[in-house]
């Protein structure tokens, strides 16, 4: 009897020791609606590696505003989470990679053959000098214009293809007392700005803004602010008090004609509001951006000096795999960056977005961390305020140029 007990105790101790040595802490801001998608991934991981103790360290707050602050204090305090969520692109490379805090994932990419399955535009965004730094899990599109098809028919208009067409439509709608374009709080205005910038500049010059080949105060870039001002003249006056959901609600109810928002709106419209894609709500690329896909993606990387490197690498393998991505994305309402994902699992909107993602030119989003580093992103809010209070395109452009220089944009 004693022997058995001792054996049990020893094996229990061994098990707990093993469990203690095999841990994986996943740091993300996926709570609430996005929680189940993360759960699905963790479930897959646990099925493969049952001995690992997975800790879900979620910090709530939209777009990771709070999580990023917590992450910073943890990293600076020398307690990095094993793997943390980050927006793919400059938010990572301009901040953590520049500071020498991340491990290069070239070997893992080679082993898994990811260089072939991820599109080139995406690989460019997540790499510096040919070295990839993160594994992207999902892709969202930022330049989508949403509308209510029944209402547009009633008003006798069609979704404008360019900004000039939009300004004409704007006049028609304003004459009828309808808000042409509904915007919400501060960040949704910046979100609108990047769609205007792409629609005004075209993809090549849009990319040149972020790699500093085109100056922010060059005449071309000043034109963006002028257009943006004209677009703002077509928007509602109570913007700063509205969340993006409230803004799109006005489109659904017919008080406003259009709204430009990322495609998480599709999830909100179909899941929460129970509208049918195509009939209940319509979607086109925002004016002037047809054929271009402003991308943002969530990704995970491998911080330097983590204790459980093997577990983290296994986690990254799962994130990049077809099975992992197709378990996660349909629940999250995003699409998989892999070009071999199983589209039958996705919603009607997501299928069309995935088709666009595979054929369109891909550029990065500013507000959602792909195009610029955190310092520029955060200070861009100040540029926006300068524009909103002075209404001067030149002043805003000069301020943007100053911030770009100050934050070492594009390096």
């Amino acid at each position: 009897m004693k022997k058995v007990l001792a054996a049990v105790t020893v094996s229990l101790l061994a098990a707990s020791a093993a469990a203690q040595s095999k841990q994986l802490e996943i740091f993300s801001w996926w709570a609430g609606d996005e929680g189940p998608a993360l759960e699905a991934l963790v479930k897959l991981y646990k099925a493969k590696y049952p001995a690992v103790d997975v800790q879900n360290a979620t910090v709530t707050g939209g777009s990771g505003v709070n999580a990023r602050a917590v992450l910073k204090t943890r990293m600076l305090g020398g307690d990095p989470p094993d793997s943390f969520q980050v927006h793919a692109g400059q938010e990572l490379t301009g901040t953590w990679v520049a500071a020498g805090r991340m491990d290069d994932l070239s070997a893992l990419y080679k082993e898994q053959g990811w260089n072939k399955v991820f599109p080139k535009g995406l690989l460019d965004l997540i790499s510096t000098n040919g070295k990839p730094w993160v594994v992207p899990v999902n892709v969202h599109r930022s330049n989508v214009m949403w509308y209510n098809p029944a209402k547009l028919r009633e008003w006798g208009i069609t979704p404008p293809k360019t900004w000039d067409q939009f300004f004409a439509t704007c006049k028609t709608l304003q004459a009828k007392g309808i808000t042409p374009l509904e915007v919400g709080e501060n960040w949704t205005q910046q979100h609108l700005w990047e769609s205007v910038a792409l629609g005004t500049l075209g993809p090549a010059d849009y990319l040149n803004l972020w790699n500093r080949k085109l100056k922010f105060n060059s005449p071309k870039a000043i034109k963006v602010w002028e257009n943006f001002g004209k677009v703002l003249a077509c928007t509602n006056t109570d913007a700063s008090g509205l969340s993006w959901q409230q803004a799109i609600d006005k489109v659904v109810s017919g008080e406003a004609a259009f709204n430009i928002m990322g495609d998480w709106a599709a999830g909100y419209l179909s899941t929460t509001l129970k509208l049918e894609a195509g009939t209940g709500f319509g979607y086109v690329a925002s004016p002037g951006t047809n054929g271009t896909f402003i991308m943002l993606a969530d990704a995970f990387g491998l911080p330097k000096g983590v204790k459980n490197k093997t577990e983290v690498t296994n986690w990254l393998r799962l994130l990049g795999s077809k099975a992992g991505q197709d378990a996660f994305n349909p629940l999250k309402g995003s699409i998989s960056p892999r070009n071999d994902s199983d589209l039958s699992k996705y919603s009607k909107y997501s299928q069309s977005a995935a088709r666009d993602f595979r054929t369109n030119k891909i550029v990065g989003s500013l507000v959602h961390g792909a195009a610029a580093n955190e310092t520029f992103m955060s200070n861009f809010a100040t540029v926006m305020e300068i524009y909103l209070s002075t209404k001067s395109a030149t002043k805003a452009a000069n301020a943007a140029e100053a911030i770009a220089t100050q934050s070492n944009l594009g390096k």
Partner: protein
């Protein structure tokens, strides 16, 4: 202390041993009790203030390769961050925040004191259910600013709360379907009482000059001719300098900056006053009740009306309470952060305050040194409110 007790102890047989031993033990005991807290406060309060001060003099955050590195290499750059905050092109938001704080503080203190005094005077009339009302008025105090902010954000939205209530009330009354109210409590960008930040040197010279003239006036009353002349000349020189070089100081700021009181702050001030008026009411009520009834009786016998009693007796006696309330409210208004965050969000520059900007600068745009500089400016502002108060109250205690 030891000296005071010496005469008594002198009469005892062996004064030295008898006096020293217990005193030493007492001192040791006191020191032992005090040392841990002195060390802890020294490290965790003053040590970190010192570190923040040092951080604010470095370039932490300017070079992305160093900003979040494991051991960031910081370079000492002197007061450049402070210079940027007060004169730099990109930091006009900070200067607007300073102006906003000033306006917020003034209206918040005036509102809280006024409301609190009115409520206290009303309760002082011994109405029916006085204790019920007292609790009711004090109740908002028990909420956190986040809760208050969230509730008031709902109430003050253009499409919700007050506007909706008013509209539906008027519509039922008149049987119409109109939008009567559309107050932009929190969303407006309109500014009033604007002034050009380039005029700051002039205003500073004006204020300091007036102080000099006041000193000169005092000296004249005390018949101190020398001092009067010096003070008057200093004030005059400052004023002349301010008028000639202080206005439109283009040598200091590249572009004119109009800063003023953002009307969007009205909503936040309403919420803040709603929360803190109960507190000032409690202070005032305690003060009023502390005034002996004899005084009032004597005044009534002398033929004072009720209003005159408040005017001549009660309000003057409440001055110290007002002063301490001003101090407390003033420092609340300098550290206000959660209320603004909950009501208007972090990103609206129209309703921004320095504490919020400090958070954004440090933890969103990774400019730790500049964030530290903002917090040092805030520290100086708080000290400007608290230190004179502590100084006078300590001096009073010593008397």
């Amino acid at each position: 202390m030891a000296n005071a007790k010496q005469p008594i102890l002198k009469n005892t047989p062996s004064p030295k041993t008898a006096s020293k031993k217990p005193m030493d033990f007492d001192r040791l005991y006191a020191a032992l009790l005090l040392i841990p807290s002195i060390i802890l406060v020294g490290i965790f309060v003053y040590g970190f203030i010192g570190q923040t001060m040092y951080t604010s003099l470095t370039n932490w955050g300017q070079d992305p390769a160093q900003t979040l590195a494991l051991n960031p290499q910081l370079k000492y750059i002197g007061f450049q961050n402070y210079g940027d905050l007060f004169t730099g092109l990109l930091d006009s938001r900070f200067r607007q925040d300073l102006v906003s704080t000033l306006f917020f503080t003034v209206f918040f203190i005036a509102g809280s004191l006024g409301m609190g005094l009115i409520l206290a005077v009303m309760l002082d009339q011994n109405p029916k259910g006085e204790s019920f009302f007292r609790t009711l008025f004090l109740f908002p105090m028990s909420l956190s600013f986040i809760v208050t902010g969230t509730i008031w954000r709902w109430l003050l939205q253009p499409g919700g709360g007050f506007n909706q209530l008013g509209n539906s009330a008027l519509n039922t009354l008149f049987g119409t379907d109109k939008q009567y109210f559309g107050f932009q409590w929190l969303n407006t960008r309109q500014q009033v009482w604007q002034f050009n930040w380039q005029d700051v040197p002039f205003y500073t010279a004006l204020v300091v000059g007036l102080v000099f003239f006041y000193l000169a006036y005092q000296a004249w009353q005390n018949r101190n001719t020398n001092r009067m002349i010096v003070a008057a000349i200093s004030g005059l020189v400052l004023l002349v300098w301010g008028i000639i070089w202080g206005r439109n100081a283009e040598w200091l700021y590249p572009i004119p900056e109009d800063h003023g009181f953002n009307l969007a702050f009205i909503g936040i001030i309403i919420a803040a006053v709603w929360q803190m008026a109960g507190y000032t009411m409690a202070l005032y009520l305690a003060g009023i009740r502390g005034i002996p009834e004899d005084l009032r009786e004597a005044a009534r016998v002398d033929g004072c009306t009720e209003i005159q009693i408040y005017q001549k007796i009660i309000l003057p006696l409440l001055t110290p309470i007002t002063l301490s309330a001003v101090i407390i409210l003033g420092h609340i208004s300098l550290k206000i952060f959660d209320l603004v965050f909950a009501m208007a969000g972090a990103d609206n520059a129209t309703t921004d305050v320095p504490a919020l900007l400090m958070y954004l600068t440090s933890f969103r745009s990774n400019q730790f040194a500049k964030g530290a500089a903002i917090s040092m400016v805030l520290l100086v502002l708080v000290a400007a409110v608290i230190v004179p108060y502590l100084y006078t109250s300590l001096r009073k205690e010593r008397r």
